[in-house]
Symmetry: C2
Subunit: 372 residues, 2 copies
């Protein structure tokens, strides 16, 4: 081992306009770098109390069980599945993109009988779709992706879908990884039972925490489980003992990430959640207009187009990967390509959290103008 | 929501001498706070390559599958169980403290038939214990805790135990959460199949990553699984696709924690792993001598006493919680109490990583002298 071959960290400063992570405010980075205290220090318990309250504000919920999960967004997804599915349960998974598929895969690993409600990538669902699919009944859980990062859609009419799901006796899980903090989300107003997100998208903290909330209806179903939760790390009974009274050791939380997420959420509270949604919408509209001018119209109809992630339709024959590479190498701008059935057909341009700034839109459009 | 009630982060500067997290070097905190790049940026792939190589150096292994898991130490434990246990498998769990119990609980959640090999808290095992317990055969996995944070023991003769385990056709999982980087660990030399740790103890990065390694024998067993891994987030097949070729998206890694752990491991490589073990031993010996003088002799015999975590035997009638509270409030020093059968009988004093400094020993002994 020759330690001198490992140099000082010397990374480029990237303008992150992909599907996440987004850029992180200097205030959040400063909080991240504070020397840690212990995981049961009275001072960290105060930080955790703030985190729970700020997350409730962001999710628009009064749910007691509202905490950040100690992993990235996918760990939030897995917390929803691992705790609220038992072997043999029927689960209806709405699949209109990559993350719907992931939910179906996860639920089947936990022993669920998974039925898929499918729409082509890039479309969304209606409440009637769910009503038809849930007939025959016996479903325990329905999963729905609010903002599909793979396609750029945002699901509308969630409150009506929740009503249908509840009428059929099931719980609704809503994935807001790409939308929370950038696009209107109203957990209590929509009566969503279980909702999760990621720290690194519209909340603009670094990746490593997954905001999570579950309402009383969900917790009651959890309390009636017949089997133990297979996943020890994500078992919400154990997590409750740490995050709620008696604040008992479960696992060592990522303390510095708690600092960072608290600061990111505090920035959000200072801005105001509605103002934040408006900012995301306003910069997205500037991007959409500019993309139209470049001959790269957003692929998703405006009615269900996500403000935080735009997916322009690419012209035939374009070497899209080469352009992305030049954006990264020459301009330090990251955007992403499409994948699955949309590979080569779209880009994925995120304007999330601290990245959702007018100057980033102007720069990106100018750079694309130079490259195209 | 009145955002002004959330003040600037204003935390005390703690001297962390508990069972973890340990103190973090300013160099590591600076790396942590670098603005993130994307999770597939060519530059992050270089950071990840360094991480794998530095972890191999630290574990003393050539194992290809040597990565940090995106969670805290317990997520490393769960990665070992979730991937190498299938429902119905027989698992032998050596239990001589809190973390052995946790391993047994986890393995049973994943459907294993768990047998416990038990010793009282504070004792360790012999190879003969395993030979006797494994007779009758049919075990797939044996779990063993190297450094028990709940008791302060370090397991000796691991190489001989591994030999016994292999002779009986099983794999050996070794928990080095409290020992890696502070106490000799030699994964290849001992022929340990699966080993994990935490970032926040003797490696002195913040909590949030779990170093993990598995050898070719373990990977072959993994490849013969009949069932899918229930745990999606920790499935090493998916993790391999991100960490090894083709570096495909699995989940968004905690990028800033990658920066921090790389810097922490680089500090370890600069010091040299053997020198680091010696430093831990030398400051521990100073602590042990001082505790004897105070009438608080270490409870664990020196032969298997862990250098990174010391557990002094407390005199009858001492109000140990009050003393710990005064250490925290008046001196900003964190140490921990005992729990389980050792509650009230011991303290747990960690000298781990950046906390393992002569000045911390001197300060703690002087403070205890004032308080006792």
């Amino acid at each position: 081992m020759e330690p001198s071959r490992f140099k000082d960290l010397n990374l480029p400063f990237r303008i992150l306009l992909g599907p996440g992570p987004s850029m992180v405010s200097p205030r959040v980075l400063r909080a991240l770098a504070h020397p840690p205290v212990g995981y049961l220090d009275p001072e960290i318990l105060a930080v955790m109390a703030d985190l729970k309250e700020l997350l409730r504000y962001t999710f628009k919920t009064e749910n007691e069980f509202t905490i950040p999960i100690s992993g990235t967004g996918t760990a939030g997804m897995e917390t929803a599945i691992a705790n609220f599915v038992e072997p043999g349960d029927r689960v209806l998974t709405a699949v209109n993109g990559f993350f719907g598929k992931r939910l179906a895969d996860m639920a089947s690993r936990y022993g669920a009988q998974v039925e898929r409600l499918e729409r082509p990538w890039g479309e969304i669902f209606t409440p009637e779709d769910f009503d038809a699919a849930l007939k025959g009944g016996g479903y325990r859980l329905v999963t729905l992706v609010h903002g599909e990062t793979s396609t750029g859609t945002v699901q509308t009419r969630v409150a009506e879908i929740a009503e249908v799901v509840h009428r059929h006796g099931a719980l609704l899980v809503l994935d807001t990884v790409a939308s929370l903090g950038g696009v209107p989300v109203d957990v209590d107003g929509w009566d969503v039972d279980i909702c999760y997100s990621g720290s690194q998208k519209c909340l603009s903290a670094p990746p490593g925490l997954a905001p999570f909330t579950a309402n009383a209806r969900a917790m009651e179903v959890f309390g009636q489980r017949q089997s133990r939760v297979t996943n020890w790390y994500l078992d919400i009974q154990g997590l409750s003992q740490y995050w709620l009274e008696p604040h008992k050791y479960h696992h060592t939380g990522p303390i510095n990430m708690f600092y960072a997420l608290r600061e990111a959420l505090r920035l959000g509270a200072e801005e105001g959640i509605e103002a934040r949604w408006k900012r995301h919408r306003s910069v997205a509209e500037a991007l959409w207009a500019g993309l139209e001018n470049l001959g790269l119209p957003p692929r998703v109809p405006e009615e269900y187009r996500m403000a935080s992630l735009t997916t322009p339709q690419l012209p035939d024959g374009i070497d899209e990967a080469a352009i992305r590479r030049r954006l990264l190498d020459d301009y330090n701008i990251e955007i992403a390509g499409g994948f699955g059935p949309l590979a080569g057909q779209i880009w994925r341009i995120g304007l999330m959290g601290f990245s959702a700034r007018r100057e980033n839109v102007t720069l990106l459009l100018a750079a694309l103008g130079e490259l195209l």
